[in-house]
């Protein structure tokens, strides 16, 4: 039985096989690729800053930040100001937040029999897009982070504007998503308390529990995050045991014979990436509580992603306070990138999880470029013996509709997955 999955930035096909009226195996097929890595070959290295955001219309900014960091890794002693680092982290946060809102209101709600809430998706995500545009000139598809820093210079008036975008988004969250003061919600460590609240998130969680779905969509209970910044920690979590040593050389990409999505594993094992993974590694009390009760189910996954909005908004306010506007936005590299040879990689946390870029430059031109996207961690298929993360989460379910729901809790982005 084949099901075409739509409204996922492209399409995917799920080939289901049933045994005793339960899903026994799912072959996940992504049907097209644009082969961006090949487009990059032979191009001047800096042009990757313009091409790579176009990997994806919804998380292109993560691709920009991953690109600039990978290019900077090709230098030996490149200096970046703290100000530029903070600005990059801020704009990436804003992109994550807009993603989370869109996914919850446009993709998740209809799967639970609710009406899609277009305006609740667009209002806060437009505020976050404005916040990015303040620094980057526009969103989507800015290339404002360049080797050596960021192109923009900002003043106090921009920060005041930025503060308003953030405060307005926090207000939206407090009035709509979880009706609560952010201060108390951020320290909440008991899911029962969230379920007592009003708001679109508690509503969905109650639907899940009422229907008895809170244990559905469980996968390997293994989590991974390679991206590190002032908020996210790098690490892996096996059930609840967290370790913070990871080695990028142990990440392996395997081509698939039936799909354009290459499968990704760490030390030969599939790991879930994304907000639930980050929350487990960061030991967020509320998500740990949900995980203790419901494991790595759709409930924990949805809760973790929506709660990350509130955490990132709060953390962004702290980041703004850390900005020292007297620092330079940009420090010119001692060697122009057009003369550079070297190799480097980067890992950043994008909305859907760890994004890895690897680049090799020879005399200023790109010799090789590799991209591993978050959705490859979660959505690319494995084998019956070694199931991929979303495959494992769908096995044992009784019907295709629920399987589609489970599949979409990972947030499918087909353009990223195959790129």
């Amino acid at each position: 039985m084949i099901k075409l999955i739509e409204k996922i930035e492209g399409e995917a096909k799920l080939h289901f096989s049933f045994k005793n009226e339960k899903i026994d195996f799912v072959d996940i097929e992504f049907t097209s690729t644009r082969n961006i890595e090949k487009i990059l070959q032979g191009k001047p290295a800096a042009d990757a800053l313009v091409i790579n955001p176009r990997v994806c219309g919804i998380c292109g900014h993560a691709h920009l930040i991953a690109t600039v960091q990978a290019l900077e890794e090709c230098y030996d002693n490149l200096k970046i100001s703290n100000k530029a680092k903070i600005i990059r982290e801020l704009t990436l946060n804003f992109e994550l937040i807009q993603n989370h809102f869109k996914w919850f209101y446009l993709t998740m709600l209809p799967l639970f029999g609710e009406k899609q809430q277009v305006l609740k998706a667009t209002y806060p995500s437009q505020l976050m897009a404005k916040a990015i545009a303040l620094f980057g000139g526009q969103y989507p598809h800015t290339s404002y982070a360049i080797v050596g820093g960021v192109v923009c210079e900002i003043k106090e008036m921009e920060l005041i504007k930025l503060q308003h975008y953030i405060d307005e988004t926090i207000k939206f969250f407090e009035e709509n998503v979880v009706v609560s003061e952010s201060e108390s919600f951020l320290v909440c460590d008991n899911i029962e308390k969230v379920l007592e609240r009003n708001g679109d998130l508690p509503n969905i969680l109650r639907v899940i529990i009422k229907n008895g779905w809170m244990h559905q969509g469980k996968s390997h209970d293994r989590f991974i995050a390679f991206g590190e910044n002032s908020y996210f920690n790098k690490g892996k979590s096996l059930k609840t045991r967290v370790s913070n040593t990871l080695c990028i050389e142990d990440v392996k990409e395997t081509p698939s014979s039936t799909s354009y999505a290459k499968s990704v594993s760490y030390k030969e094992k599939h790991y879930e990436a994304g907000p639930l993974a980050r929350a487990m590694i960061n030991k967020i009390p509320l998500i740990k509580d949900a995980h203790r009760r419901y494991g790595d189910s759709i409930l924990s996954r949805i809760l973790a992603r929506v709660c990350e909005i509130s955490q990132l908004l709060n953390h962004s306010k702290k980041l703004i306070e850390m900005l020292d506007l007297s620092e330079p936005s940009y420090i010119e590299p001692s060697l122009d990138i057009s003369k550079l040879s070297g190799s480097g990689y980067s890992a950043v946390e994008a909305a859907r999880g760890t994004l890895i870029h690897k680049v090799e430059i020879e005399n200023g031109l790109i010799k090789n470029y590799e991209i591993i996207t978050p959705t490859q961690w979660n959505l690319s298929g494995g084998t019956k013996e070694k199931l991929g993360v979303s495959q494992k989460a769908m096995i044992g379910l009784g019907d295709i509709k629920t399987a589609e729901l489970v599949f979409k809790t990972f947030d499918v982005c087909s353009v990223c997955t195959t790129h």
């Binding site: 042009d47 176009r54 994806c56 219309g57 869109k102 000139g137 526009q138 800015t142 960021v150 010119e332």
Partner: protein, 293 residues
């Protein structure tokens, strides 16, 4: 109840950036009162794509996002067949973004004969010449949401838009991106001291800015209602043009010290004369930092 215009949003070889740019349109509620999508990459719609591709569903406007190749399929149907089917039904076809219009970045992917709907970069493509006259192009990587939405309203109101040679509405594409840039004075007086990370300076001389010869309204209507790339200090990449993407996007190609590409309509001799005169001045205000301490 008034009838809404029915729109089919069809994604071809794309990143979906145009769709997400569209979601930044500030007056979405008004738009959704006047238009409905019979199919859309993410918004709820009456039909699934599977139904769309094999039936003639009534529709007023076909929006195409992404580059086109006969090899590429949606819901197991070649995209060219879907375009052919719906171009007969609709009043107008709109190519949304630079890929759908000229091929754009994904023109360089491996698909066979990949191009825009009517153009492969600057050249005409004849596959769909029977629908050339009912097509409007709104290029840009991505499209500006206001340009897309207002073009759809113009269709709804049966306004005969004046189009340029690439079928782009002149209301937005008769301008250059340079119009309205806050760095204009540095350009006018040929002050070529731009540094990244600074409020001052013009990126045309050293850093590859294509705004003086790129058609668009980025600095007239602004992005996300707040800013533009060149205002922020990022060179214009020429993303609305058939030539996008060129190479070496962060540096200005020069011959004997003269930029290879000059402002639209300005001859080399005129440019040199003007540059010579402007360079004779020393304008202290523009040589200094704006915030001089």
């Amino acid at each position: 109840m008034k009838r809404k215009m029915r729109v089919l949003w069809l994604s071809a070889i794309a990143c979906n950036g145009n769709m997400h740019s569209f979601l930044n349109y500030p007056y979405m509620e008004q738009f959704l009162n006047d238009f409905e999508f019979i199919s859309h990459p993410i918004l709820d719609s009456e039909y699934t794509l599977e139904v769309i591709v094999s039936n003639d569903i009534p529709c007023d406007i076909l929006l195409i996002e992404g580059a086109i190749s006969e090899e590429f399929q949606r819901a197991d149907v070649p995209i060219v067949n879907i375009i052919q089917r719906y171009s007969k039904i609709v009043q107008k076809i709109v190519t949304v973004g630079t890929c759908a219009t000229f091929g754009g970045i994904f023109r360089e992917s491996d698909y066979k004969d990949i191009s825009g709907l009517h153009f492969d970069k600057e050249s005409r493509v004849d596959t769909f010449k029977n629908i050339f006259d009912k097509t409007i192009s709104v290029s840009g990587c991505p499209v500006h949401p206001e340009i897309l939405v207002n073009t759809l309203y113009a269709i709804k109101k049966s306004i005969a838009l004046e189009l340029d040679n690439y079928l782009r509405p002149k209301e937005y594409f008769a301008y250059t991106v340079h119009n309205g840039c806050v760095r204009n004075e540095y350009f006018e007086y040929k002050i070529d001291n731009h540094q990244f990370g600074a409020l001052e300076g013009c990126m045309f001389y050293e850093h590859g800015c294509q705004a003086p010869y790129t058609h668009g309204s980025c600095n007239k209507i602004l992005w996300n209602e707040v800013n533009s790339k060149t205002r922020a200090g990022l060179p214009c990449m020429g993303c609305t043009e058939p030539s996008f993407p060129k190479q070496n996007l962060f540096s200005t190609k020069k011959n004997m010290g003269i930029p290879e590409y000059l402002p639209t309509g300005v001859g080399k001799r005129t440019y040199l004369t003007l540059a010579g005169i402007s360079k004779a001045f020393t304008i202290e205000r523009l040589e200094k930092k704006l915030f001089d301490d």
